[in-house]
Amino acid sequence: MAKLRLERLKPLVALAAFLFLWWIIPATVKSFTRLTFAEFHAPAWLVTAKIDQLSEFWAARNHSKIDLLETGRDLARTNARYQVMAQRYQSLEEEITRLENLLTLPPQREYHHEIARVIRRDLNAWWQHLLIRKGRDYQIPVGAAVIFSGGVVGRVAEVYAYTSRVELITSPRFRMAASFEGDSRPVVYQGRIQSGFVSPRGEVSDVPQDLLTTSRNPLNLVSTHLGGTCPPGLKIGVVSWLAPGSTGIFQTGAVELDDRLHTLKEVTVLIPLITNDFNRDAN
């Protein structure tokens, strides 16, 4: 009878022993364990991502030649359009450089682009992370802005040897300075707890009272250079509803974000060519 009781207590004893051990081991060991957790898991996540890609590859092989021809034609058209845009971009850059020299303005902060594949999504109510397949091996720095064709994706939160963890703008822990298109006054964007069945949303606060928005004429929330992380003008989301805040003078509102944020396969990391010198913009 006593033996049976002891048998039942075994898991509890094991748990207590583990907790005791965890309590007495040095803090450095704990810290090392936490830090290396992601590194140890990275190969597994990479393999999973590779397998996914392989399955996509085999799925693509099943397409008919007609499909491929049509896709090739569309791609050629897209390429032609982008070539024109690239030329236009080049001439605009030259014009900006000329104006900067003319007005002796400091050059705009420049970024090196690093395109990275998303290998894992860690999305829940409390945090929203992406794991991307580039890390210290590509000199990805912590705090770098991450973008995609629809605008801001988030910010690099942690960098590992071959991977990096990106905090998505949907995450309640994510906050950035922003501004409304055509208005330079800074406002605060922050992610919030996401409901699983609707489009991703965030919050905007400290919005000046004179800004008005309706569902017919929504305001575009974009990044600002003031914070030093993102280049200005990148789209964050759309604000179609603002309400008076608790200060009695500023408004708060909901930001509708891009639906593609939770299904991204590839993102671009913006690595500043010079280290963030936050005072430079202020001067």
């Binding site: 309640p172 906050r175 006054r185 800074p186 003031l226 914070g227 030093g228 936050f278 202020a282």
Partner: protein
């Protein structure tokens, strides 16, 4: 039989104790019931006092707009980085343990190293209180250093500030850095993680914002942060903390303080036994104060301020019909944005040194000089001593008893009649007429126009020193009797006579309307009220012929030969009067240059008074050449902004100066 059965109902001692016990129990239950049911309210109040704290947050102030809806005073975001000390309590504790350990080790080391004969009997105790504050300061400074590293600032937190905040405002956030620039604000937003990952919060409040900077500074006024008055705290025994409120200290901000002040918001918190906040029980958001629409036109204001430039003085423009103030300038001035969100001592001292706090348009009174001759002329005409044919021969001097009074034209004007005397500002004509009618008539006439009173404008601190001298006044004020020379001086606006530039503008507007009083107002009048404004007073009391004579003289002032010829504008009829007065200010004899006038003569719409105050004896200021051009700029701006009222078709705006 059970062991205790033999005691049942038999032993009287047991029964006695039973009854005693029952009685005590009954008393206990009754006491408990009394406290729980009867005294419940009293205990509820005590419980509330002990466990609830209230935070009052004043609402933002209302905006001020000019007559055309342009924002003159608003609220700008005022960013600061704050921490709630409550959030730092675990860190306070752990850091305190650390510094206590270090201090004990240090004391022990000192103890051990002290020679035995000098060593105290026992190891000394650390100063626990001091270490606690040291630990708290170190923790808060750590977060301040984080902010400094991001923003490049070098702010420090003093222990005394921390202690003061801890003792007085524990429930309110402790400001680490105030008045962050938008860049610094944005940097902190991005670099500091949101709570709970960091205790630093970026707090957004409001500060007064003046988009036109120093324009209309005296008129608009400024605010100062003040603690709420005791009567503004709810008197229910709950301990209340309050953010500072912005209170108007001068100008419209002060006069309309109640209107502009927002409604105070309230938060009620349940706190723990140490006083740190636990649960929010109630929230009433603060509400913004009401906005004001004032009568100023900022374009006219700018025109006058630009024309006045660096000189000391004042300029007032009134709507002739409504008395609305279109511009009210006082120089030297100051940039009101430098006084918001607080007034730095060096800024205060600099403004003090230049005397810029004073609103010269209504807080100081000056001798009006020759502009007062208009009133002397009206008094003379009403008294019957002046008619169109009245002529005096000006030889440049006029003798009153033993005193010689001079005209500004040393060679004299020759024979002059009223219109000539106004055009050339002949002193001799008015000396003679003043003496002819006497001070009683002159004084009564000035009082009829309200020269002895405040104007009643909605602005604070208007001077009470509006002097219309009379025999009685002189005896009371100086103890000496009235002499004819005093009358001569008064007749030309010198001597004891003192009036503010605003009063002179009101006088001019009244003249243009053929009345004696103008009630100036800084508030924009609704269109439906504009024709029904009662200025008080009475009709001027001049016949049409007399009035035409007066106006003719005034119009000739801005004509080719008049003293105010520099004011003249092509195809725009201006009636005016220049004045140059001697004035003792800053311990020196200085000149005051005046110009008053209204336009257009055929349908008066705007009345103007300009005064420029000399600050050095060497400055030769004259009404026509110094104050006149400022008035001209005001008239030109009026034509540009209100061509229809100025009698100009929109297509013929291009007026040029003579």
């Amino acid at each position: 039989m059970e062991p205790l059965d033999h005691h049942k109902g038999e032993n009287p001692r047991i029964l006695f104790f039973l009854w005693i016990t029952l009685l005590l129990a009954a008393i206990l239950v009754a006491g408990l019931a009394w406290r729980q049911l009867i005294d419940r309210d009293a205990y509820e109040v005590i419980e509330k006092r002990q466990t609830e704290r209230r935070i009052l947050k004043p609402g933002p102030r209302g905006d001020i707009y000019d007559r055309r809806g342009r924002l003159l005073v608003g609220n700008r975001p005022h960013y600061s980085a704050v921490v709630y000390l409550d959030d730092l309590r675990p860190e306070f504790r752990s850091h305190y343990s650390k510094v206590l350990r270090e201090e004990r080790a240090r004391l022990e080391e000192v103890f051990v190293n002290t020679p035995t004969e000098e060593r105290p009997d026992a190891l000394p105790h650390p100063n626990y209180k001091q270490l606690q504050w040291k630990a708290r300061q170190a923790v808060v400074q750590k977060y301040l250093d984080q902010i400094n590293a991001i923003t490049g600032r070098e702010d420090r937190l003093t222990e005394s500030r921390l202690i003061r905040h801890f003792n007085e405002n524990l429930l309110l956030p402790l400001p680490l850095v105030r008045d962050l620039t938008p860049d610094q604000y944005a940097q902190l937003i991005e670099q500091i993680p949101p709570p709970p990952r960091s205790p630093i919060q970026i707090h957004t409040d409001t500060a007064r914002y003046y988009p036109y900077r120093e324009l209309a500074a005296h008129l608009l006024g400024y605010v100062q942060n003040k603690n709420l008055k005791p009567e503004e705290y709810p008197n229910d025994g709950i301990k209340t903390f309050a953010f500072q409120k912005k209170v108007g200290r001068s100008g419209l901000e002060a006069y309309f303080n109640e209107t502009l002040s927002g409604t105070t918001g309230r938060e009620l918190w349940r706190v723990d036994p140490l006083g740190f906040q636990d649960t929010r029980l109630e929230l009433n958001a603060p509400q913004q104060g009401q906005s004001l629409n004032i009568s100023i036109d900022i374009d006219l204001q700018r025109a006058a301020e630009t024309a006045l430039g660096d000189r000391a003085g004042a300029a007032v423009a009134l709507d002739v019909h409504t008395g609305e103030v279109l511009a009210l300038v006082s120089h030297p001035t100051y940039n009101q944005n430098h006084l918001s969100p607080f007034i730095p001592q060096n800024t205060f001292d600099a403004i003090n040194e230049t005397g810029a706090w004073l609103n010269r348009a209504l807080q100081l009174s000056y001798p009006p000089g020759s502009t007062f001759k208009l009133l002397t002329a009206i008094a003379g005409m009403r008294h019957g001593s002046i008619d169109p044919e009245t002529t005096h021969n000006c030889g440049g001097v006029y003798r009153v008893g033993n005193r010689v009074f001079r005209c500004h034209a040393s060679g004299g004007h020759g024979p002059v009649q009223l219109a000539d005397a106004i055009e050339g500002s002949c002193n001799v004509f008015f000396y003679a007429e003043g003496l002819s009618m006497g001070i009683d008539v002159l004084s009564a006439e000035a009082q009829r126009f309200g020269f002895h009173e405040k104007t009643g404008i909605e602005l604070p601190y208007a001077t009470k020193r509006n002097i219309v001298p009379s025999k009685k006044w002189k005896r009371e004020a100086t103890g000496s009797g009235w002499v004819p020379g005093d009358t001569a001086n008064t007749a030309i606006g010198q001597g004891f006579l003192l009036a503010t530039p605003l009063r002179m503008a009101c006088f001019t507007a009244s003249l243009a309307r053929n009345e004696t009083r103008t009630q100036p107002s800084i508030l924009a009048q609704p269109p439906q009220h504009k024709n029904s404004i009662d200025h008080g007073g009475e009709a001027l009391g001049l016949s049409p012929r007399q009035r035409a004579l007066l106006w003719q003289g005034m119009e000739r002032v801005t004509g080719r030969r008049g003293t105010g010829r520099l004011v003249g504008i092509d195809d725009f009829r201006i009636a005016g009067k220049t004045g140059t007065a001697d004035f003792r200010a800053h311990g020196k004899e200085v000149n005051l240059a005046w110009f008053v006038g209204f336009a257009p003569v055929e349908n008066p719409q705007i009345a103007v008074a300009v005064m420029v105050e000399g600050t050095e004896e060497s400055q030769q200021y004259h009404g026509g050449s110094t104050a006149g051009p400022i008035a001209k700029d005001l008239f030109l701006e009026f034509i540009k902004r209100y061509p229809e009222r100025a009698g100009k078709a929109p297509s013929s705006r291009s007026s040029t100066a003579k």
